[in-house]
């Protein structure tokens, strides 16, 4: 907005009047009134014990739940990302069997609710009481009790990871397909095999499109882990619910859990911003700038 005076017809500087944004003031007043009123209702609510909220915020079980939630989120996201890239590459393969398998995987895991998958993995023992890994026709092998392997933690990781892979595969596929067809042709013309073209030319460029949504997937995962409470995964939500089932302070503990979820989301959002600033505009620095990616992805000396 201009603040410098404007010369009138005779050359005398005349100040510029200030614009009043009536709409903004009105909206702010209404928002403040409504939000303030709601906040007041909650804060002074006689049924809500803020002392309990403060007491449980740094409770040992809550903190260990926060840590388990982070663990499950990180491991499930890692599993989902690796498997997702694999499924996407299979989906785009010329081999119709591989492509069909990948399509089936995506359909199956997107078609069944995560909740169902979590409960399924947790109760795998009903189908297979023992997990056996052995060389066929011999006695050599390993055997586990399914219930010992499929704890709440592992079934949570598997269920969430396999599910994310199905969604992430579609993100990766979109990223790969967004890379110009001419890049593939140039790679082939140089004498590259399809696999090398994918690794050296296409995937590094697809990353630019793939990386920003991964931050989103992780943030979403942080909160999806709350479903794990149905299989008693000892995550934040499980522990919070176990506490409120014992002391009946449901609202207080939901507030405690929400505060921690919001803190985790805020941290993840901050990291996502850094990730996007680093890779969003230019995938190449991922290959060149050092770090894990530089070791995983090939590079030509520059």
């Amino acid at each position: 907005m201009r603040t410098e005076p404007i010369a009138d017809g005779s050359g005398t500087p005349v100040p510029v009047a200030r614009t009043w944004h009536w709409g903004r003031w009105l909206a702010a007043a209404v928002a403040l009134a409504v939000a303030g009123w709601l906040a007041y209702l909650v804060v002074v609510n006689p049924h809500l014990d803020w002392g309990k909220v403060a007491e449980y915020l740094f409770n040992e079980r809550i903190l260990s739940g926060v840590w388990v939630t982070i663990e499950i989120s990180v491991l499930a996201t890692a599993l989902g990302l690796v498997l997702g890239v694999l499924v996407a590459v299979m989906r785009l393969a010329h081999n119709p069997v591989l492509s069909g398998l990948a399509a089936f995987y995506i359909w199956f895991f997107r078609g069944t609710p995560v909740l169902v998958q979590l409960i399924f993995w947790y109760n795998l023992a009903f189908l297979f009481p023992e997990l056996v890994l052995k060389v066929p026709f011999t006695m050599i092998g390993l055997k586990w009790d399914t219930n010992q392997v499929m704890t709440g933690f592992t079934s949570a990781m598997l269920g969430l990871g396999l599910n994310l892979a199905a969604y992430f595969a579609e993100t990766v596929r979109a990223g790969i397909q967004a890379v110009d067809r001419g890049q593939t042709e140039a790679a082939y013309a140089l004498g590259m095999t399809p696999a090398r073209r994918m690794r050296v030319i296409v995937l590094p460029q697809a990353l630019r499109i793939i990386i920003p949504p991964t931050g989103n997937e992780f943030i979403s995962m942080l909160k999806t882990t709350s479903l794990v409470y149905v299989v008693a995964g000892h995550d934040l939500m499980t522990n919070a619910s176990q506490i409120y089932k014992a002391n009946n302070r449901i609202m207080e503990l939901l507030i405690v859990a929400s505060v921690w979820y919001m803190v985790m989301t805020a941290v993840a959002t901050f990291l996502q911003g850094r990730l996007e600033r680093r890779f969003g505009s230019d995938a190449v620095r991922l290959v060149r700038g050092g770090g894990v990616a530089a070791r995983v992805l090939p590079k030509v000396a520059a």
Binding site: E185, A186, A189, L190, I201, Q205, V284, V300, A301
Partner: protein
């Protein structure tokens, strides 16, 4: 070329006999007969949709040949004769075959995530297994050759179209190809950038590189080409020495095409 002291009967680099190709019920090539001798520059002209680019892409196996015979560098493209049958190539076999054939595209197709130098070093490093340091030195020489040593560390989007196309030529040359294919290399360029690319191609031709050039630059074909083929409707309508063919085309199709193209073009080599 050099008809006088010809080295005794060098096998032609390209021999196409009745090559047919099509997709989705549309016939693109209807029996192309075409030969390229070693060291020769063959120019291909023709209206858009005549199949000239498709034919060029058949030469290095980017498009499949569906009928006839296409022998490039002594091999039937896409198939190997064994035990009385022609066996289709695997992707790996195709890759090995393409190492010896350089290709330059209309839209450059430089690897967008790599610098000019990395683009040129990419083939040697990832296909031939040249040590990166060595590949880098060689790449620098190739860039210098196309006059872009100063731009080695720039990315494709920081270069002009003409510069990008010269990097693309350097990238193809880095593989030491026995045959170079050019698919309308100057068609996507601003008019003032065309010459710098044509100059590089002329110097390549002067060094005796075997080249097949699909182009609309009639003047270039006249000046640099040893052979000129006119494509229309998926066949070679007529073929001959560029000066003769351009001066006195035999077919009505050729005459019509040339008059429409030459009317609009006043090339730098025109006299």
């Amino acid at each position: 070329m050099n008809a006088g002291a010809a080295p005794a009967a060098v096998a032609p680099v390209v021999v196409a006999t009745g090559v047919r190709m099509g997709y989705g019920g549309v016939q693109v090539l209807n029996g192309v007969d075409f030969t390229v001798a070693s060291g020769e520059v063959s120019c291909v002209i023709g209206p858009s949709g005549s199949g000239k680019s498709t034919f060029l892409r058949c030469l290095n196996g980017l498009e499949p040949v569906l009928g006839g015979s296409l022998r490039v560098l002594g091999e039937e493209v896409g198939h190997t004769l064994r035990d009385g049958r022609y066996h289709p190539w695997t992707p790996k076999r195709f890759a090995a075959f393409r190492r010896n054939i350089g290709m330059v595209f209309q839209r450059f197709n430089l690897f967008a995530h790599q610098s000019a130098l990395e683009n040129v070093a990419c083939g040697p490093v990832h296909v031939l297994g040249t040590p990166p340091d060595r590949a880098r030195t060689l790449a620098m020489e190739h860039l210098d050759r196309v006059g872009l040593a100063d731009h080695a560390h720039k990315r494709p989007h920081q270069l002009s179209g003409g510069q990008q196309q010269r990097v693309a030529i350097a990238r193809a040359l880095a593989m030491n190809p026995a045959l170079m294919l050019f698919d309308e290399p100057t068609s996507a360029l601003d008019p003032e950038l065309v010459d710098e690319v044509l100059e590089v191609m002329k110097s390549l031709a002067a060094e005796g590189m075997t080249m097949v050039v699909v182009t609309h630059e009639i003047a270039f074909a006249r000046e640099v080409g040893d052979r000129l083929a006119f494509f229309a409707d998926g066949v070679v309508v007529e073929e001959g020495r560029p000066r003769e063919l351009l001066a006195a085309p035999e077919h009505e199709r050729t005459r019509a095409f040339l008059s429409s193209v030459l009317g609009a073009q006043e090339g730098p080599f025109e006299r």
